[in-house]
Amino acid sequence: METFLKFGYLLLPEAIIIGSIVLLMLLDLFIPAKRSRRFFGWLALLAGLGASVALIWVWIIWKTHLDGRPIQYFDSAYLFDAVSLILKLFILLSLIFVFLLSLGNKQNSTGNSYQAEYYYLMLVALLGAWVLVSSADLITLFVGLELLSLASYILVGIRKEDQNAVEAAWKYVVLGGVASAFILYGMSFLYGMTGNTNLMEIYNSLQLSVQPEAILYIYLSFFLMLFGFGFKISAAPFHTWVADVYQGTTSAMAAFLATITKVAIFGFIVRLLLLSYLPLFYRNNWNHYLEWALMGIAILSMIVGNVLALRQTEAKRLMAYSGIAQIGYILVPLTLITLTQGMLFFRVTFFYFFAYILMVAGAFAVISQVTAQAGTGEIRAFAGLYRRNPLLAFAMSIFLISLAGFPLTAGFIGKFFLLTNAFMTKKGILLGVVMILTTILSYFYYFRFVRQMYFRQPDQPERIAIPWTLRIAITISLVGTIALALLPQLLLQLLQSLGL
């Protein structure tokens, strides 16, 4: 409690988010039912911007006054350290993109009903994601996970009049519930064998005092949690729900699931592996199985995601499968963490995640506008985009070649870092080769968009107009994608200065 009183000001961003959630809920109650609630989006965006200012202020204070050392609140149930700070920034940035997308056009959010709920539930999901990336206690982690998951279930199903959205929400809630149950079951074994919910204490007892017969339960808990996280982060072979959910929901919500959820769950996996399960990887007889399980998930995600994406004709489904493949790429350094001794792990992964957020948010921004105007989600909605709006076609091409990992884009540099990290070890060569081969495979479907945009005649000749909020989102992600490719050292130096 003392640390909370002393360093509580570092949690100002969280306080701003909680405060805005409560304020927006109360405001929703006191405004007459007939009034439009469109402006809630602006208020939520304002809250997000306020929180980002606070986050940067907190960062500077932490760096200058506290020498950037990790701070633990509530018996180290909640951490403030470099990893949580960076992931919180990523999540907040993604949320601001999602808000811009939602404000862009009506089809993107909820139509006219439930505008207020839509926006404050997004803030609740943000809070859950933040808790997920910054806590070091099983119970707090689970509450954070459920905050994020519950809010996302509701947000997917909030457009009740749309049959597809209802189906997507139903699938998401059932499979998400099963995944949560698996995670909880795994946690119960971990707690039962170590007698602690704190990740660092679990690390200690796994290293020192676990009974030899109890170690089997620890492995069981590891695999149970792996299943659960596989579902939540949408890695193969637990990916079956992803495409249906993305297709059924709006582009803004799909961008939300592709960025915020994945970043938060990834932060959770990293914490759990590095703070708790790491001693298991140094035990002789079983470490190969654990490594192969992780590597298998990464390899399968890359192959399954890219192969299934080849057959898709629906833009959001295609993005869903491409997202599975991207998760496969991102998991590569994590699976090799014991072999590379964690060298450059955070720098490489966080760089790719930043590039990933920018290009995915940008791509969904373009997709949302183009499909909304065409009235269809098929890729042929992009036919002749070059004639209808050259700049938009150019932006989309940049995002796509970045996703495909072509030079002169952030995606290329990021993938290059991932590959060098993989080739540092013998086992990683296999992963690196799979990554290169599947990347080549992915050119086929990313260039299907490009072919439509440049070489097909448009169905409707009129120009595509873009609302200015979407224009801001696309500009930011476009500039970011190119700037990150030209000046990658800026981000790397920033990460280095945080000791990552």
Binding site: M25, F74, S76, E117, L121, D137, Y153, I158, N198
Partner: protein
């Protein structure tokens, strides 16, 4: 064959039986009742483990509130009494069955390969007072507070999703 073992056996059969019937019954009402039966049996298991507080909570919340709420919900809404037909393929059913069986086999083999040899802890250490102390004086304040937000979100979400739209 101690009395405890006997009681455990009966309660376990009740719990599993209730769950199996809950899946197998055709009518929603019967499903809810057999689920309540399972909840009661689990409360009994908690009593056997000297976890009186959890047992009472289990009866109050699950067997009491949740089951009653479900029954009210079923009685107050219209629902089809007729049997629903599922369109599942045989292959799908077999695959699901195999996966469930494999999972059970793994769990059982772990339990048999690694028996608990440690003696049971002293139960007097785990009183309700201690529970409250743990909850409010240590690191669990934060998840406790966040849970209130979680419940609020669940409440709002269920209202949004279940509310009937008025026609304009």
């Amino acid at each position: 064959m101690t009395g405890e073992f006997f009681a455990f056996f009966i309660l376990a059969i009740c719990a599993i039986g209730g769950a199996v019937f809950m899946i197998h019954f055709d009518r929603v009402m019967h499903m809810a009742l057999s689920l309540a039966f399972t909840f009661f049996a689990i409360a009994g298991l908690f009593f056997l483990l000297d976890a009186e507080f959890v047992a009472v909570i289990q009866i109050l919340i699950y067997a009491g509130a949740v089951s009653i709420l479900m029954l009210f919900g079923i009685m107050l809404t219209k629902h089809q009494e007729k049997e629903q037909t599922f369109t599942r393929t045989k292959l799908h059913q077999w695959l699901s069955f195999l996966f469930a069986l494999g999972f059970l086999a793994i769990l059982m083999s772990v339990i048999y390969l690694a028996p608990f040899t440690l003696p049971a802890g002293d139960q007097s250490l785990y009183s309700v007072n201690k529970l409250a102390e743990q909850l409010f004086k240590s690191g669990y304040v934060l998840p406790f507070e966040l849970t209130s937000l979680l419940l609020l979100v669940a409440l709002i979400g269920s209202i949004i999703l279940a509310k009937k739209e008025e026609k304009e």
